[in-house]
């Protein structure tokens, strides 16, 4: 059973990429709906399998690591696989209605979309440093292609900027990998961390870790390397922006986190952890602050991504040299933050797309009077905003709560103001949008109602991110499942 699930996960996206490449947009839409269905089913199946009897290692080609590529299929991985399935399904569905079939180049959305999905699945499951590099490149290039789709000057500009950042990042990462391989002669993360654990081996270098983390944080748009993100996410079509903000940036962070949790203990240092955490903290404040002053709606959302991603980097200080339960608490908090941000941000971008379509302008102040028409999309935007603000009962709140707890427990109280101020600032920019929509102004009749299904999709995502806080317990219990013997929490 599991082999087939793995196959479905790794290969159907690739197959669908090829299929959709051969047909035009409308046929690609039909094919993709089928593929999305398959993917969701498969992801659910694998998630259930792991939740049922624990994670396992999967050897591709039947060759064990270090000779072959070994995938690590554990609770965290399948959690993200499932998340990807949900968000990508929503974005694909939305795009299939949102994008205009008449534009010839939109047909290329589907193959890029499927390659992106394949790359994401590969990264979540990847346990081999070099394989992760290839997966990252798969993701980056298809993401760049999606941003540049349509090839309008501003989009190209954003895409090039994005591509340059991504290339530099992946090279830095690859250099780190090269050094690691040179030292240990192995590419599997688990293998390297095992070697580091053994007494005999010489102490590892810090530089490889630094290089890999630099590359990955650059791809994750950590302050001050975030310059490429807002233009790229702001200018892409809304479904694309949703994919990028919700999933793509998370992929590189996920790798960074895995490396940190496995190797950071040996190769990292308190200073490094604090530095990364500090940059994340600055990103939270700075990103929210910039979001507050953007004139264009999607730029607001894009900058909010910079801020929300900043929270994730608190993982590094909160897991270095702290007690095991505290570290676990922090990991759970970050996982929740990733999930809820993915859902909320996807909802927000899709809703923003609908709003833009409704009022026919991408400026915030053009929303005046929209709330009179009571469009679902505004609600979805608001509900997603609640999660970003970290107000209960959203997943964002649960995440913030766990982070507060672990900062208090680890005695690193200086993260508290960041967590609180970040929430308030995000409230500020979300309410700025509300405010604009509540403004009563004459001549708001030029208002177009997007089709129902376009409005329903972001609503579903927003409700998921809102309700996540209520079911945080079960979700997290799967994530901490150990290998082999399952069940135990």
């Amino acid at each position: 059973m599991t082999p087939w699930l793995m196959a479905g996960l790794l290969f159907t996206p690739l197959a669908w990429a090829v299929l959709t490449l051969l047909v035009n947009f409308n046929r690609g839409r039909l094919i993709s709906w089928l593929g999305i269905l398959v993917q969701v089913v498969v992801s659910l199946g694998l998630w259930a399998a792991v939740a049922g009897d624990g994670g396992f290692h999967y050897q591709l080609g039947g060759w064990p690591a270090p000779l072959g590529i070994e995938l690590r299929v554990d609770g965290l991985a399948v959690t993200f696989v499932l998340l990807t399935a949900l968000v990508a399904a929503a974005c694909g569905w939305h795009a299939s209605i949102y994008l205009d079939p008449a534009k010839a180049w939109h047909r290329y959305f589907w193959p890029l979309f499927w390659f992106l999905w394949a790359g994401l699945n590969g990264v979540w499951l990847g346990g081999d440093l070099f394989n992760l590099y290839v997966g990252l490149e798969l993701i980056s290039l298809s993401a760049v292609g999606l941003v540049a789709l349509g090839g309008e000057s501003a989009a190209l500009r954003a895409a090039i900027r994005y591509l340059m950042a991504a290339l530099l990042g992946s090279l830095a990462y690859l250099l780190g990998v090269a050094l690691i391989y040179g030292q240990f002669g192995s590419l599997s993360i688990a293998g390297v961390s095992r070697l580091l654990g053994e007494a005999g081996t010489a102490p590892g270098q810090t530089l490889p870790l630094l290089l890999m983390l630099f590359g990955l944080t650059l791809k994750t748009a950590l302050f001050p390397m975030h310059g490429w993100l807002p233009p790229a996410h702001g200018i892409a079509r809304s479904p694309v922006s949703a994919l990028l903000s919700a999933l793509v940036v998370k992929a590189s962070f996920y790798i960074a986190a895995r490396i940190w949790l496995d190797l950071g203990g040996y190769l990292g240092s308190y200073g490094l952890a604090q530095l990364i955490g500090g940059l994340g903290a600055i990103a939270v404040i700075w990103g929210s602050w910039r979001a507050l002053w953007q004139a264009k709606l999607k730029q607001v959302v894009a900058y909010s991504s910079v801020a929300q991603i900043g929270y994730l980097f608190l993982l590094f200080p909160l897991t270095w040299g702290v007690a095991e339960p505290v570290s676990l608490q922090a990991q759970q908090g970050i996982t929740l933050q990733i999930i809820s941000h993915a859902l909320a941000k996807a909802a927000m971008f899709l809703a923003a797309g609908n709003l833009i379509m409704s009022v026919g302008s991408n400026r915030v102040d053009a929303l005046a009077g929209v709330s009179r028409f009571l469009p679902f999309s505004l609600f979805s935007f608001g509900l997603a905003g609640v999660s970003l603000m970290g107000l209960p009962p959203s997943g964002g709140f649960a995440a913030k709560w766990l982070l507060l707890q672990s900062s208090l427990a680890s005695g690193q109280w200086w993260w508290l103001p960041v967590l609180l101020a970040g929430g308030l600032l995000s409230a500020a920019y979300v309410f700025r949008v509300y405010r604009a929509s509540f403004m009563e102004r004459a001549g708001t009749d030029r208002f177009f109602h997007p089709s129902r299904s376009l409005e329903v999709i972001p609503m579903i995502l927003a409700l998921l991110s809102l309700g996540l806080g209520l079911v945080a317990g079960p979700v997290l219990s799967v994530m901490v499942l150990p290998f082999g013997e399952g069940g135990g929490q």
Partner: protein, 498 residues
């Protein structure tokens, strides 16, 4: 779990579902919306009644599940929560009736009523919350669901008011979150229980606990409009009258006060709180707020702003009562939670009636309103007298009990505060009453509307009259077993172990 133990959930759901349904209703379907509104309100009232009955029998209703690892979501119906739940359920019904009449023919009604029900649902959740975490959950939900009501009119003024409202309340919420998280980190998940947890505090914890208490009160004080955190309240007056009524009498202000009650009685416990020397400070703040609010009210020309400042002062009675160290004082404070609600909502209903029917907003325009709208004016007069504390009205009961409580614990200065504030109340209410009844009408009303033979729309009139009657009964029949007072005595018997 049995069906009965789910009662709190149902009580919550009635208004939550109502909100969802109303949001999906089209703007024009007036009948259906009104039906849903009133139906939900009535059902909720019944459910609350059933729970009250059960609690008298000594039953307890509780639903709990783990939300985030280490934190439980608890809905529990106990005597104290029923005090607040009952109040909000009753006044929700009346306010809804009133709002239906008030907003007739104005735009964005399904948005309004949707958020209206949502905020009542949050209030219900606040009442039924079984631990600080759950309380905070609904406390923030209340903030979000009341914002659209405050900015409902969409005018620049309303948007400004909404902005300061949201800034105040969200910052308060952040402080509250910090305090709760810290407390949780120190002593774990504390569900409310009579007598609190810190009967004996080891010295290591004294410092942190005091600081946390300050943070908690600061966070809750924003909604409770403790000076100097009251700035948003007078501005929020731009909201439609039913909203102001809801904000002042039931939802927001009371949520803050109720939270402080929960913290003092059921987290820290009276003894610990006073032992830490926290109540004295709180009493000082409350007393100052009482005087300050009344003093500011003297100088208002806008009727609703005057009422706002009077609220600032009145709500602090509840908190002051808590600080009287004794069961009697606590009883006075708690019963004022109900009495002030009834009196204040009456006043707001009447103010709304004046505004809707005669277009009167300023006090100096009220001359001769008495003969034009006798019923409304009678209700208003009763409310004002109640506020001043004229026997045998509700306000009198409160002040009397609190006074005796203060003397019992030898805090005579509190009596002085009570007397001064009553004099101030008289000083700003009596001139208004004089204008209403004895003022000579020169000019025509700013913008008058006719409603057939009734002085104003029945939707607007009846709620005001009902609440007026209620506030007489609450005072007159204070010793009957059905009165708020006797319920409060039941609570005090259970809460403050003697």
């Amino acid at each position: 779990m049995s069906l009965a133990s789910l009662l709190p959930v149902f009580a919550l759901m009635t208004s939550l579902l109502a909100a969802v349904i109303i949001f999906t209703l089209p703007e024009r379907s007036f009948r259906l919306r009104t039906l849903v509104n009133l139906g939900a309100a009535v059902i909720k009232l019944v459910l609350v009644g059933v729970m009250i009955w059960g609690i008298v029998q000594g039953r307890a209703y509780e639903v709990a599940f783990t939300m985030v690892p280490g934190v439980r979501f608890v809905l529990r119906a106990d005597a104290l929560s029923m005090l607040f739940a009952g109040l909000s359920a009753l006044l929700w019904l009346l306010t809804t009736i009133y709002a239906v009449g008030y907003l007739e023919g104005s735009p964005n009604r399904s948005r309004f009523f949707g958020f209206f029900s949502l905020s009542v649902a949050s209030t219900m959740g606040i009442a039924l919350a079984g631990n600080l975490f759950t309380f905070f959950l609904f406390y923030e939900m209340l903030t979000l669901s009341t914002y659209p009501l405050v900015v409902h009119r969409g005018t620049p003024k309303a948007l400004r008011a909404g902005r300061s409202y949201i800034i105040y309340t969200l910052c308060g919420g952040a402080v509250l979150l910090l305090a709760i998280a810290w407390l949780h980190g120190l002593v774990g998940d504390l569900s409310f229980r009579p007598g609190g947890y810190f009967a004996e505090v080891e010295d290591a914890l004294r410092g942190p606990l005091s600081l946390i208490f300050v943070l908690l009160v600061a966070g809750l004080g924003v909604k409770a409009a403790l000076v100097p955190l009251h700035g948003w309240l007078p501005q929020a007056m731009v909201a439609p009258a039913p909203v102001s009524a809801l904000l002042h009498a039931v939802a927001v202000v009371k949520a803050g006060a109720f939270g402080i009650v929960r913290v003092v009685l059921e987290i820290y416990g009276l003894d610990a709180a006073s032992d830490l020397g926290l109540l004295a400070g709180l009493a000082g703040v409350a007393a100052f707020t009482i005087i300050y609010g009344s003093a500011r009210a003297l100088y208002q020309v806008d009727l609703k702003r005057l009422l706002a400042f009077s609220t600032v002062s009145q709500v602090s009675y509840i908190i002051l009562g808590l600080c009287l160290f004794g069961p009697v004082g606590v009883a006075g404070g708690l019963v004022h939670l109900v009495h002030q609600g009834i009196m204040k909502i009456t006043l707001f209903f009447c103010a709304g009636n004046y505004a809707e029917t005669l277009g009167v907003h300023r006090i100096d325009e009220l001359d001769g309103a008495g003969e034009r709208m006798p019923a409304t004016s009678v209700a208003f007069t009763l409310g004002a007298f109640g506020m001043i504390g004229v026997p045998p009205l509700a306000g009198f009961t409160t002040k009397w009990i609190m006074g005796t409580g203060a003397l019992a614990v030898g805090m005579d200065w509190v009596v002085v505060v009570l007397v001064v504030s009553s004099l101030l109340n008289a000083a700003y209410f009596l001139p208004i009453l004089h204008r209403i009844w004895f003022g000579e009408r020169q000019a025509a009303w700013p913008q008058e509307r006719r409603w057939g033979r009734l002085e104003t729309s029945a939707w607007l009139l009846w709620p005001a009259l009902i609440t007026a009657v209620l506030l007489i009964l609450a005072g007159l029949l204070a010793n009957l077993p059905v009165s708020p007072l006797s319920w409060v005595e039941l609570i005090v018997a259970r809460e403050v172990a003697l």
